[in-house]
Amino acid sequence: MTVWTAVLVSSAIAFGLKLVGYLVPARWTRHPRVATTSALLPACLLAALVVVQTFTQGHHLTLDARAVGLAAAAVALVLRAPFLVVVIVAAAAAAATRALGWG
């Protein structure tokens, strides 16, 4: 039930945000501070998601095989690997680390 709520409400909000952009007068959104904030928002959220997904377990900060996966992903990105390769490299590095008995 909770998951259904999250999926459906998020979907409704996402569509509403897209549609509202086609309906509001353009001048409302031209304020430079609005533009700056909307440009910074995705980077901040994604950085926080990286940290939470990689270094936390519930309420605890942890260091385990996921950190190895993230490091491998960073190397792949530096080498300009495409998205899917980055994701697979991260998964493989973490799985290998666990197979070796850590994290």
Binding site: S10, L46, G69, R98
Partner: protein
Amino acid sequence: MTISGRGELTDQQRAVRRQSLSVAGATSVYGISLGALGVSSGLTVWQTCLTSLLLFSGGSQFALVGVIGGGGSAASAIAASSLLSVRNAFYAVQLNALLRPRGLRRVPAAQITIDESTAVAVAQPEVGLARQGFWTTGVAIYVCWNLMTLVGALAGNALGNPKNYGLDAAASGAFLALLWPRLKDRRTVAMAIAAALVAAALVPAIPVGLPVVAAAGVAILVGATGPQPMPPAVDEEASS
């Protein structure tokens, strides 16, 4: 450059189609990872597929399944997903001014307003090509992304314990890969680091999922109060 007959594409239109389809192909493949992560985070195959059918914004979908997979509440999953969707509203404003879709066409246009369709549209030299690029990219991604999500969800379901395959680290890699192209200037890098530290500091203290939302506060705070990257337009004042 040749003038084409009815039903034939000009060289420019062919170039736009090629660009649209290659962007769509590259993007859609990672729908597989979204599908697999969705089911490993505790969503059903059907729920995972619905995020692609309805929500249809990669970053927001990854955020939603990431927060749910981490044990966060529905409210924090909704907040993280929706805050990441805000940029689509700004794309829509740009596209509305550029493409001027009319009436009910704005409904499907809104649904396919995402990073990639916007990027292809605004890169075109004239409005006809922009329109073609937007619709071709958006519709192609919508179809392929949904198919790939289903493939990933079914595969993820068949795999068993996601940790054995490092799927939790795959989510870390996915977020980093989504973040990477945004780190173009020093200010954004500094902001991203600050947001990461804020989130890490808050993890022990506040409910699961909310540290990500709090990190958005960093962006809002700096966007609202910090120095502006470009001076605001002051034409009237300057000329008077």
